[in-house]
């Protein structure tokens, strides 16, 4: 079961190492991790996507809470309606004069953006939930994806 864990941490030296070390030391999985400062520079928010059975997830949340620098841990289920989850991808896709138009149409359908273009490639930026990114990638795959980079997930509660 995939979980998205949002961790508010004190912006201290070594805090990322503490969290990452906790996961590796205890054998927990990290599918993705993203971290940046919040509106208050004293704190950062980490969003960690992890999977494991319920007992493991419960331990992850408890162990995170135990870290001195961790202020708050929120565990979101994959289809949690109470929070917005987003990922970002940059996709460099192979183009020819014949395929360029079709690719543009797909980009429009997904409300993605073309951020760079060259005679043989086009770079597409897309944000959204994981499923949307996956769907776009599948649509672009036949044209030839030359390179791709994806961010970790970020999540914020609606409440």
């Amino acid at each position: 079961m995939k979980h998205t864990i949002s961790v508010l941490v004190r912006n201290q030296f070594g805090v990322l190492a503490r969290v990452a070390g906790l996961f590796s030391g205890r054998g927990y999985n990290i599918d993705s991790l993203s971290v940046a400062e919040t509106q208050d520079p004293q704190f950062s928010r980490m969003t960690i996507v992890s999977h494991g059975d319920e007992a493991v997830l419960e331990q992850i949340v408890k162990q995170l809470n135990k870290l001195i620098d961790v202020v708050k841990v929120t565990d979101y289920h994959d289809h949690d309606k109470d929070c917005v989850m987003r990922e970002l991808a940059l996709i460099k896709v192979h183009t020819t004069p014949q395929t360029r138009g079709e690719i543009m149409q797909i980009v429009n359908i997904f409300r993605a953006k073309v951020v760079d273009i060259s005679p043989k490639t086009m770079m597409i930026e897309v944000t959204g939930p994981e499923a949307k990114l996956e769907a776009l990638i599948e649509m672009l795959r036949p044209f030839g994806i030359k390179e791709m980079v994806q961010s970790g997930r970020v999540a914020l509660s609606r409440k």
Binding site: F13, G14, Q59, K62, K66, I68
Partner: protein
């Protein structure tokens, strides 16, 4: 102007420059130690901690500094001191190798939740990351084995960090905290005052057990027919032995202890089932397996306790009282979790709990106790380790502080010594650290100078830390060091005997290069033991004696106790014990608790 004495005792008149010296980071460290009530620190100097030592030297009249012979010794001594006194142990070491030498000691303390503060020097902040001389990423290395750690690169942070370090080490589930201080920070002038309080909103240990959960616990007790209390080191850390005693006497529930919990409840009382687990008593393990209610109090369901997890206490409703939420439901499913300090929870529980009707159960347990006592078989021609331990128990009645290393002697000590009160039994449970015994005994002796302190070691463990005999002698710390010499790494050899076709791979400590490549086991061909522990003791100006005969055991122990008290120097007693002797009963790895094996009779 001040009058003082020279080192050779002659009086000299010295003009002191009474200039106001600015307060530096090094002064802050000393100030912190004094304000936190530290009475003793253990350590070893070096380049990156020179400034702190300079100030420690000046403050020698305010607290004691024990100069060790190896930093691992310092860490174990601080640990032993903390376990015996309940106060945080303090070590001060230098950067790089100084700090890395403490790692085993820190991990030992971490696994057993012992409050410690380790202060290490670090290379100047502008050199950090440049592979400077004696540089190591000490906060990186110790991150997984400390409760928390700090690297101080700005002197402004130092007073707050020192305050937090002591606060974090001693509160909640205690543990070691390391403060790594860059050398330039030690020299820098500090204007920040030492704070009176800490401000750590993200660290709020929960002491008070929820009353509803405690009520549920009381209800489960009332209804139970076959309850067992399983208590661990948390009872000792929480100083809750009295509350536990009240609880057990009120409910008459049989109580078993983990290795770390020995002493939490007197083993001499009828409700005591002694230790459970891999080398626990049959009656404790049977009681746990048959129980319908298991009250885990300040214990953490370690694999050495539970045996095969899915066959552990199969009929029991499990109640778990622990201050650390991560301990709860980590290894076993818990039906009634109670997060809180054991002392608080038991105090509240004792007010509402009613005794269950368990006469039948108590009778059954009494029968098990009768039928399956811990036993050993004396031999005609040689002494065995167990009888030495029984003699120690007989002469000390649980009043002495006993420390151990790890292995067979540790298990025999746990099985055959009487335990009447907490903080008298000091052993490395979680990490299982060989070499823990002697330095932790020294630490305990520092905390209780007039108490009889006995370290029980094997011939393997003692050689990992034997240099600390010098520390003990120099500081007039008259520990008794009992070496049970079977010339083997006994516990490993036992596993080899039972599970590896008696192939004693690299466990014989008597073996020399002259021995046959594949030897047929101990015999008259054996080359003789190196080192000579009696001479080793004498080289450190300690008393040394070798004991081979049964009738010498008690006189030797009594003589050493007397000598240590009078001469105030350590005594080393080397008992030559049977080479091949096993710890029984034993739950083999992967077996259920009730599937114990015993000696063949």
């Amino acid at each position: 102007m001040g009058r003082t004495r020279n080192y050779n005792g002659t009086r000299v008149t010295e003009v002191k420059k009474e200039k106001m010296m600015a307060r530096t980071g090094a002064d802050v460290v000393v100030e912190a130690l004094l304000k936190e009530g530290v009475e003793v620190a253990f350590g070893y100097p070096g380049g990156a901690i020179l400034d702190v030592f300079d100030r420690l030297y000046k403050a020698q009249d305010k607290f004691r500094f024990i100069l060790v012979r190896h930093e691992q010794g310092a860490a174990h001594m601080a640990d032993g001191y903390a376990r015996a006194t309940g106060k945080p142990g303090v070590c001060v070491v230098t950067s790089g190798p100084g700090a890395t030498n403490t790692v085993t000691g820190i991990a030992t303390a971490y696994m057993d939740s012992i409050p410690m503060v380790i202060i290490s020097g670090q290379v100047p902040s502008y050199y950090i990351g440049n592979d400077a001389f004696q540089e190591a990423d000490v906060t990186g290395i110790t991150r997984p084995i400390t409760k928390h750690n700090y690297l101080v690169k700005n002197v402004k942070d130092l007073p707050r960090v020192m305050k937090e370090a002591f606060y974090i080490a001693r509160t909640g589930r205690p543990g070691p905290v390391l403060v790594d201080i860059a050398k330039d920070v030690q020299k820098a002038v500090c204007e920040e005052p030492y704070p009176e309080t800490v401000d750590l909103p993200s660290y709020q240990p929960k002491y008070e057990g929820h009353i509803n959960q405690i009520k549920k616990m009381a209800e489960a007790i009332k209804k139970s027919k076959r309850p067992v209390a399983y208590v661990g080191g948390g009872v000792i850390l929480s100083n809750a032995s009295e509350e536990l005693y009240t609880f057990i006497k009120k409910t008459r529930i049989p109580v078993t202890m983990t290795l770390m919990g020995l002493g939490a409840y007197p083993s001499t009382e009828p409700e005591s089932l002694h230790m459970l687990g891999m080398h626990g008593t049959r009656y404790a393990n049977y009681a746990v397996q048959e129980s319908d209610l298991l009250l885990a109090i300040g214990a953490r369901f370690d694999d050495r306790v539970t045996g095969k997890l899915d066959g552990f206490a199969p009929h029991a409703t499990i109640v778990h009282v622990d201050i650390d939420p991560t301990s709860i439901a980590k290894n076993v499913k818990v039906h009634i979790p109670v997060v809180g300090d054991v002392k608080d929870v038991l105090t509240k529980l004792n007010k509402i709990v009613e005794a269950p009707e368990i006469e039948e159960w108590r009778a059954r347990i009494a029968e098990w106790k009768e039928r399956y006592p811990l036993t050993y078989e004396l031999r005609d021609d040689e002494i065995i380790a167990q009888e030495v331990i029984v003699a120690i128990g007989k002469l000390t009645h649980g009043e002495a502080i006993i420390t151990t290393d790890v292995g067979q002697h540790q298990m025999w000590a746990a099985q055959f010594l009487p335990f009447t009160r907490p903080r008298r039994w000091i052993t490395s449970g979680g990490l299982g650290t060989m070499g823990f015994g002697l330095p932790s005994a020294i630490g305990a002796q520092v905390g209780f100078p007039d108490q009889l302190v006995i370290n029980i070691s094997g011939d393997g463990g003692i050689q990992m830390v034997a240099q600390e005999l010098a520390t003990a002698r120099i500081n007039r710390l008259p520990v008794i060091c009992v070496i049970l010499n079977n010339a083997y790494l006994g516990m490993v050899r036992q596993w080899q005997e039972l599970f590896y076709d008696k192939q004693y791979a690299m466990t014989c400590l008597e073996r020399t290069v002259e021995c046959a490549l594949w030897c047929g086991g101990p015999g008259s061909e054996c080359p003789g033991y190196i080192p000579d522990f009696v001479k080793l003791a004498e080289a450190h100006d300690c008393y040394g004696q070798r004991i081979r005969k049964r009738e010498e055991i008690e006189p030797a122990l009594k003589g050493a106790f007397e000598r240590a008290r009078k001469e105030r120097r350590p005594c080393v007693l080397e008992f030559m014990v049977a080479r091949e002797e096993n710890v029984y009963p034993m739950v083999p790895a992967g077996a259920r608790l009730d599937q114990m094996i015993d000696r063949l009779i």
